[in-house]
């Protein structure tokens, strides 16, 4: 419509203003109509971004856009709209940092100048225990022995897609143990998936339609943006939490977000919680769990409680599972679904073992059918049945893991304190939530990302900036400390110090 304004002044005479705008509008309208009619019928895929395309791809797109209006010349074969957005290079610092760290990984001996990975919540503290168990027990535990005969039949053939009953039993026992024995899990209410990632996605497919939304407290795990939104078309609505109350969730904030979203015509189908929280590491109290359940009942929505860090406690607070609360009170259980996995508590992310635990028969029925797209591999199921059933090993593992987590957490947080960087109060997780707001040049996302970049490229440490976690306050960073050995901590601290050398606050540790 930019043509309209100059033309207006050209047309003079009776009703000039009206004609001056009417005629150019009409001309413009007819031009659009002509262009639309003569556009080639197949839509073009978006021009590929420079970093991903092969030269051939870019060339073909340029050719076709030029001849767009006039002929159906060589056209680029199209991929779906979903795929187009996924194919774009990932701009999130969360992923960029992970890539950089994996390209040039720190090693105390062989690559002391490499990037130290503090952006991946992986627990490396207890591998020695697992390795020992493997050497002592593995032998034939993969192929199994059936009456003395080697038998691959048990694991080669089609298994129930939602996991074998043996593994469900073993998982139920493990989950109960992890959570201090305060709750019993029913194997028949379990659906096993290839990791917690598909567990979350599967639940979203079951609980919400395209265009619906879930409320999620911030800051949250960056992966939720992918797990919830990628293929389901479901939206995430942030419910902001603040440092003034240690990022605790408030029902008022939930309510506000719910009403706000509803006003815009989007239907909220549930709340997605992480408990213990990622990236903050705090817990939801029993009272808060009650309040959330009341809220969910009032609004008639679901609650997904991702409890994947339940076994990674280092604080003195007691972890209370959503399942425990449901057991004790008369809540409508049909709206509650718990997600769990072995990637954090048992350090086996590569094995792809996740759990959907639900009280809703219809959800279980649908989820069971959907696990055909993401089942746990049979040899892994067999291995884990063996490991999880070894009560003595599990007991020792849980105890040792907690002790080592406590130790690393204490050392790391104290170290940061020495740099005048304080962390949020936390009781669980493989990370701490550090306040570096005093070290950023401007109190904004831009300032935060500048610091992140400095830490990554100058300090050579990868940490996750709060903005990647949708934190509303700039300057917070998630630092995972379980990929480190004790000797690495002073190295990390020194690198942080060096990277922010010119910032006055750091040197004035009071």
């Amino acid at each position: 419509m930019r043509l309209i304004v100059p033309l207006q002044s050209v047309v003079q005479g009776r009703g000039g203003l009206i004609f001056g705008s009417l005629i150019p509008c009409a001309l413009f309208y007819f031009l659009q109509l002509y262009l639309k009619r003569h556009r080639s019928p197949k839509p073009q895929s978006n021009p590929p971004s420079p970093t991903t395309s092969s030269p051939k791809l870019a060339e073909m797109t340029r050719t076709s856009s030029r001849s767009n209006l006039f002929s159906r010349s060589i056209e680029q074969v199209r991929i779906s709209s979903r795929a187009i957005s996924i194919a774009k290079p990932n701009e999130s610092p969360y992923y960029i940092g992970l890539d950089k760290a994996s390209e040039d990984p720190y090693d105390r001996l062989s690559n002391p100048d490499g990037v130290i990975q503090l952006g991946l919540s992986e627990n490396r503290l207890c591998f020695d225990l697992i390795e020992k168990w493997m050497s002592e027990n593995l032998g034939h535990s993969i192929t199994g022995r059936d009456n003395g005969e080697l038998n691959i039949n048990g694991i080669a053939t089609y298994q129930p897609f939602d996991g074998t009953m043996e593994l469900k039993l073993a998982m139920a026992g493990f989950m109960s143990h992890i959570m201090g024995g305060a709750v019993t899990f029913e194997p028949s209410q379990m659906v096993l998936t290839a990791g917690a990632t598909p567990a979350i996605e599967t639940l979203c497919f079951c609980l919400a339609d395209q265009g619906n939304a879930f409320l999620v407290p911030t800051p949250y795990y960056p992966g939720f943006d992918r797990d919830v939104k990628f293929r389901t078309g479901v939206e995430l609505i942030p419910v902001h939490c603040r440092s003034t109350d240690n990022f605790a969730l408030s029902i008022t904030a939930l309510d506000q977000a719910f009403n706000q979203t509803r006003k815009h015509g989007t239907k909220i189908r549930g709340i997605l919680l992480s408990n213990p929280a990622n990236p903050v590491g705090n817990l939801l109290s029993r009272e808060m769990l009650y309040a959330i359940l009341d809220f969910a009942r009032e609004k008639n929505i679901h609650v997904i409680s991702d409890e994947i860090f339940a076994g990674s406690m280092y604080g003195n607070e007691e972890f209370v599972s959503m399942a425990e609360v449901l057991d004790s009170e008369d809540f409508d259980k049909n709206r509650v679904h718990i997600v769990y996995g072995l990637s954090k508590d048992l350090s086996l992310p590569g094995f792809r073992v996740g759990v959907i635990y639900s009280f809703n028969e219809n959800v279980l029925a649908a989820a069971r059918k959907l696990t055909r797209f993401s089942s746990v591999s049979a040899p892994t199921q067999r291995l884990l049945v063996s490991m999880l059933s070894d009560a003595r090993f599990i007991e020792e593992y849980i105890k040792t893991n907690k002790r080592r987590l406590q130790n690393m957490h204490a050392l790391f947080v104290a170290g940061l304190k020495g740099l005048n960087i304080r962390c949020a109060d936390s009781s669980a997780g493989l990370y701490c939530w550090a306040d570096m707001s005093k070290l950023i040049s401007s109190y904004s996302e831009k300032g935060e990302l500048e610091l992140w970049d400095k830490l990554l490229n100058v300090g050579k440490i990868n940490v996750t900036p709060g903005s990647a976690c949708h934190c509303i306050e700039p300057g917070w960073f998630r630092c995972c400390f379980t990929t480190l050995a004790e000797e690495d901590i002073p190295v990390v601290l020194e690198r942080i110090r060096k990277a922010v050398e010119n910032t006055t606050d750091l040197l004035n540790s009071s």
């Binding site: 795929a83 593995l138 080669a156 053939t157 497919f205 008639n300 792809r352 055909r372 797209f373 591999s377």
Partner: protein, 443 residues
């Protein structure tokens, strides 16, 4: 005025959750239920239902077992478990390089070296089911359509449509030319989609075909690829049975076709493969997408986060499939045994007076029972199917669940049982056919 007390509404589920698109109410799955309730056992339940509806390969387990017995280290990371740590932590969606390399080699071996595969174009998924769904998510938007030749694997209705919202438009094939895909049928399907206002985004073929048990000819593959190029759509070739051809020379992969035409039109071609059929390891959940399109490879890789293969399994299989002596011997022996089974069932059926489509691959044969139908309709076919399931106690798959346009065809699996069980099944069929002859004579 009476106060109405509102009943608390029960919490809502999604459309996907309540939809019937999972298809598990069809006869294909109903037969399985009958089997589950009364499964045949050679010793304990000789009058049970024999499962002939499951395309599983159990004829070569001994070869796998022998390998694992002789190579403990692949399933245990060796003494002291070196390498275990990295393996347990490895959740990179690129997949283990060694495993991708081994898969590429294995796929090349199956094709007699007539095609080359680049390990960096391999995307790993937890099974071919996930691979097909993933590709559909990438190639088509909700409401779009894929063209699939009939008869096709009943699972496609679920795998391609359920969560993706994509539709299947059938390419009708019939017995007049052994159910081969013709250019006319392709065009007719495309027009049919257009008339329903559906945008066609691709063609999905299974080669060797399930349920036909036969390979697609070179000339037909060329026709299909030309058609896809002309319409500017994708071509997905599900080659999950490529290692289950009875003779190595008869299978032509779309990869060979591309090689022969210098990779022209390659960016629209994607191959799906898996170890569930050829290697008899469906429990391991190992599938792959091989794409000649960079964007599809990148996107598929990212999306595979929802369906990664256990790193333990990748490690085990990388070792196994890198052992050329093992793979060479396995491929050859497996083919021979499948061939033998196929001959056995075909002879047995022939003796009973039943004809099958000439097959050369797969774990099943495509049996023609149309002469036995009361009426040449779907209803007639289901009636016959019911009799075979409940009286003859054989679970076979009716052609209608495979969307076959001609009633009376059935898919019969022969590799998921022992030879003895197969003999029992053939005896039952023989008896059944004899009884019918007697009945029709008395009428």
């Amino acid at each position: 005025m009476a106060i109405e007390i509102e009943k608390p509404s029960s919490v809502r589920l999604s459309k996907v959750a309540i939809s019937k698109t999972h298809g598990e109410d069809s006869p294909y799955f109903a037969g399985w239920k009958a089997y589950d309730e009364n499964p045949y056992d050679e010793i304990h339940n000789q009058s049970g239902v024999i499962q002939m509806g499951l395309a599983e390969n159990q004829v070569s387990f001994d070869l796998l077992e022998k390998y694992l017995e002789e190579h403990h280290e692949v399933s245990s990371w060796g003494k002291g478990a070196p390498g275990f740590r990295e393996n347990a932590l490895f959740q990179d969606y690129h997949g283990l390089k060694s495993f991708r390399q081994a898969m590429a080699n294995f796929m090349e071996q199956i094709r007699g070296g007539k095609a080359k595969f680049d390990p960096d174009r391999i995307v790993l998924t937890a099974g071919a089911t996930a691979a097909n769904e993933l590709l559909t998510f990438i190639l088509a938007d909700p409401g779009d359509a894929l063209l699939v030749p009939t008869p096709y694997y009943p699972g496609f209705d679920r795998d391609l449509r359920w969560r993706t919202g994509v539709k299947i438009v059938p390419i009708h094939c019939n017995s007049s030319n052994n159910f081969q895909i013709t250019p006319e049928a392709l065009e007719a399907a495309y027009q049919s989609a257009e008339s329903m206002d559906l945008k066609v985004r691709g063609i999905l073929i299974t080669n060797p075909s399930n349920p036909l048990g036969s390979t697609i000819q070179s000339s037909v593959l060329n026709d299909i690829l030309d058609f896809a190029a002309h319409k500017n759509i994708h071509l997905v070739s599900d080659e999950i049975y490529s290692g289950s051809t009875f003779s190595p020379s008869e299978f032509v992969s779309i990869a060979e076709i591309l090689r022969n035409r210098n990779y022209k039109d390659a960016e629209r071609v994607h191959i799906v493969y898996s170890l569930s059929k050829d290697l008899g390891l469906p429990g391991f959940r190992v599938g792959t997408i091989y794409s000649y399109n960079d964007d599809v490879v990148t996107t598929a890789r990212r999306m595979s986060s929802f369906t990664l293969i256990s790193s333990q399994t990748q490690h085990l299989l990388a070792c196994m499939l890198s052992n050329h002596e093992f793979t060479q011997n396995y491929i050859k022996t497996n083919r021979e045994r499948l061939n033998k089974r196929y001959d056995m069932i075909i002879q047995g059926l022939k003796k009973a007076g039943i004809e099958c489509l000439k097959g050369n691959a797969g774990l099943f044969c495509w049996m023609n029972l149309s002469p036995l139908l009361n009426e040449p309709t779907r209803q007639g076919e289901l009636e016959l199917w019911n009799i075979i399931l409940n009286q003859v106690k054989l679970n076979i798959s009716p052609g209608s669940s495979c969307h076959c346009s001609e009633p009376g065809w059935f898919r019969v699996c022969f590799a998921n049982m022992s030879e003895q069980t197969l003999r029992v099944a053939l005896q039952r069929i023989h008896k059944f056919m004899e009884q019918r002859k007697v009945c029709s004579v008395n009428q």
